[in-house]
């Protein structure tokens, strides 16, 4: 049974949220935040070990369902949530010293951070498609006030856009869920079981194809808004650029994955019902469009966080494309890419956060010579950029290589498009980050090196994944890929 681990997993962020709601204004709130995140991470590890050994399981009257696919995301989420909390402790203190944040704002930040983790974990582990929706909406609600934390006009605008667009998107996803229920009700009958994914999965061959087709379109468009798929992406760069950096890191590294997980759950059902590649084609189309459009937008960015937000759109597009292609290899590659992208992108945001804090601006033309100011930040940013651009030996290279070779084999016409888009993205990002790191500056070096342990920990993991895939992990990914078909 996994009830114990699951309870611990969900209870620690809940407890953390409540505790921080009460004590978020104290001096030790940041430490408490990290501690609760660590508890969550520990529970996630325990859960993962259990599930990888014993296979998929349901818990709590079938309301929760854990298999190799979502437990992998649970582990990733809990890990990055933990490292981000480590990063945010010094970062938010400095912001407070600079006078950009007040104690009540930090109070809000800490409690919402825990509740956001909770919402994501519920969205990942819930078995009920309706509860997944509710948790996804809750994830928006908990982050929207964090995006506008600085209360600047730009941050308010970004938060409003985020709220309205994701609200609309998620409403469409609800319509998709209702249609799914409408189809399920005819097979499974009235009542609570008709929205449970495990039950739906058993009878997916009997679900009405016309309804599921329509339902999937709504679900993809709805959750796709959250993933940041073009043309529904316009909230994403704004929210990432205007929110505090730790929030950008978790939005980019985690929330997008969670939304993609919901889409994959729906895809499995739709594929089973239709017996065609309809859902996959749709995902491939959206994914390809996102890669191309994001790559084209990258070169026009002036704001460093905005640029990396577009890079997130590009990579989410790539992952969606890979999932859309389907098949064991492509799905394996997509899962791997999800992991390395989350790790790398959050590491980059950590480094960018410190660089921006030092330079006092997010405009790239005014950030110069990070290597002179602080070698740690400079190298962290450079290595992170190398990693995200898919340079060997980092893990992103391995996953992108797998995706492109699969595409070359299954859909040859997409290969040149992907390669050109990746090339443009490479030129754009590298061209902009290079002077930031190696340029000349008159600013004084930092008196003491910033604590960038999370950055290098993430990059090290990405490096390891690129050089050598542990058999345990490979086996686990293979099982997850088999589940998704």
């Amino acid at each position: 049974m996994i009830d114990l681990q699951l309870t611990a997993l969900l209870l620690s962020p809940l407890l953390g949220g409540l505790l921080l709601a009460a004590f978020g204004a104290r001096r030790w709130a940041a430490e408490l935040n990290s501690l609760m995140s660590f508890c969550t991470f520990a529970a996630a590890v325990a859960l993962t070990v259990r599930v990888v050994e014993a296979g998929p399981q349901v818990a709590f009257k079938e309301q929760f369902f854990i298999d190799q696919f979502n437990v992998f995301l649970v582990a990733l989420t809990a890990f990055i949530a933990f490292t981000t909390s480590l990063f945010s402790r010094p970062y938010m203190r400095i912001e407070q010293d600079h006078g950009r944040l007040s104690t009540p704002m930090l109070h809000l930040y800490y409690s919402m951070y825990q509740l956001f983790t909770l919402a994501m974990l519920v969205a990942l582990t819930a078995n009920n498609m309706g509860i997944i929706w509710v948790a996804m909406e809750a994830a928006t609600l908990t982050t929207v006030l964090l995006v506008s934390l600085y209360r600047t006009p730009a941050s308010l605008e970004a938060a409003w856009k985020y709220f309205i667009l994701c609200g609309v998107g998620i409403a469409l996803a609800l319509f998709g869920t209702i249609l799914l229920y409408f189809a399920a009700e005819r097979v499974l009958g009235q009542g609570g079981t008709a929205l449970l994914w495990t039950h739906l999965n058993e009878v997916k061959g009997e679900l009405e194809p016309t309804v599921l087709k329509l339902a999937f379109i709504f679900l993809l468009v709805g959750y796709g808004t959250k993933i940041g798929l073009v043309p529904l992406h316009s909230w994403l760069p704004d929210a990432h650029a205007e929110g505090p950096t730790p929030v950008s890191a978790v939005l980019s590294g985690l929330l997008l994955n969670v939304a993609l997980c919901a889409v994959m759950r729906s895809k499995v059902l739709v594929d089973g019902s239709l017996g065609t590649h309809f859902a996959g084609n749709l995902m491939m189309g959206f994914g390809l469009l996102s890669v191309v459009v994001a790559a084209l937008f990258l070169s026009r960015q002036k704001d460093i966080k905005r640029m990396f937000a577009y890079s997130s759109i590009e990579h989410m597009g790539l992952i969606t494309f890979a999932f859309g292609m389907g098949g064991k290899v492509a799905t394996f590659a997509a899962l791997l890419h999800m992991t390395v992208h989350s790790l790398t992108k959050s590491a980059i945001f950590f480094a960018v956060g410190h660089a921006v804090q030092k330079a006092g601006t997010q405009q790239m033309e005014n950030i110069r010579g990070m290597l002179q100011i602080s070698p740690t930040v400079g190298w962290g940013l450079m290595l992170g950029t190398f990693a995200i651009l898919g340079m060997p030996p980092f893990g992103v290279f391995a996953s992108e290589f797998l995706i492109i070779t699969t595409a070359m084999h299954d859909y040859p016409w997409t290969t040149p498009i992907l390669l050109v888009a990746l090339g443009i993205a490479f030129a754009a990002i590298f061209g902009k980050v290079q002077p930031i790191v190696f340029g000349e500056t008159t600013a004084k070096p930092l008196p003491h090196p910033p604590a960038l342990l999370p950055v290098f920990a993430h990059l090290l993991l990405v490096l390891i994944l690129g050089l050598y895939m542990p058999p345990y992990l490979a086996n686990w990914y293979r099982q997850a890929a088999a589940l998704l078909g």
Partner: protein, 218 residues
């Protein structure tokens, strides 16, 4: 056709009519009142579906709708506009006839999209999904055409009403736990919207979101 089905069809038609009225309504106060009326129609339709299908959990849904969408949310919104002193604000809407024509096109689109599903449904649900989808799309249109933060929020809530109608009338209600979760989300969202109104007004001196179009990719 039994009288229950006829009655629900009539309510569905009224729902669509209210959404159109919202689309063309200039005054914020009337907009909120229309929203409350929409909630009432939803309550009645949910109650009738509950009565005719004998689904007991739908009675709870109906009560929840009455409480949340007819009483609490309109009350909250009324309170908000009184506090923000925008009670008598009138919005300049450009080109209502064009908006209406686009609206009709959306209704036709929604009906066509839902047509294959309507053919599957039997009895009470026939055609209702199309109307629900149409009101969702029309609320979306309303959010697009509005320039005031409050009207956008009312559009958002109206969209949720359309979804709720789809859930109760077309599928006889989702499981209660899901409906409770949705209701909670909507309530929290309204509170957060309220917080936003104050933040926006504090920063921009107005609730006009035309001030908030600075973030663009040039």
């Amino acid at each position: 056709m039994s009288y229950t089905i006829q009655f629900i069809n009539l309510l569905a038609a009224i729902l669509l009519l209210i959404v159109f009225a919202m689309l063309s309504q200039r005054r914020i106060l009337s907009l909120i009142n229309l929203f409350a009326w929409q909630g009432l129609v939803l309550t009645v339709s949910t109650f009738v579906v509950a009565y005719s299908t004998g689904q007991h959990h739908l009675y709870y849904s109906a009560a929840l709708t009455l409480l949340l969408k007819v009483l609490v949310l309109p009350w909250l919104l009324h309170r908000l506009i009184r506090k923000l002193n925008v009670r008598w604000d009138v919005e300049t809407l450009i080109n209502i006839p064009t908006t209406m024509l686009v609206g009709i096109a959306l209704v036709i689109f929604a009906f066509n999209l839902a047509a294959p599903i309507s053919q599957l449904a039997e009895g009470i649900t026939r055609g209702l999904i199309g109307i629900a989808l149409a009101s969702v799309l029309l609320s979306l249109l309303m959010m697009l055409t509005r320039r005031k933060a409050i009207s956008q929020v009312v559009g958002f809530l109206a969209m949720e009403n359309g979804l709720f109608f789809a859930a109760t009338s077309a599928t006889h209600g989702m499981p209660l736990v899901v409906e409770l979760g949705i209701a909670l989300d909507v309530l929290v969202a309204t509170f957060i919207f309220g917080i936003f109104f104050f933040q926006i007004r504090e920063t921009f001196d107005s609730l006009d979101i035309t001030h908030m179009e600075k973030l663009k990719d040039d």
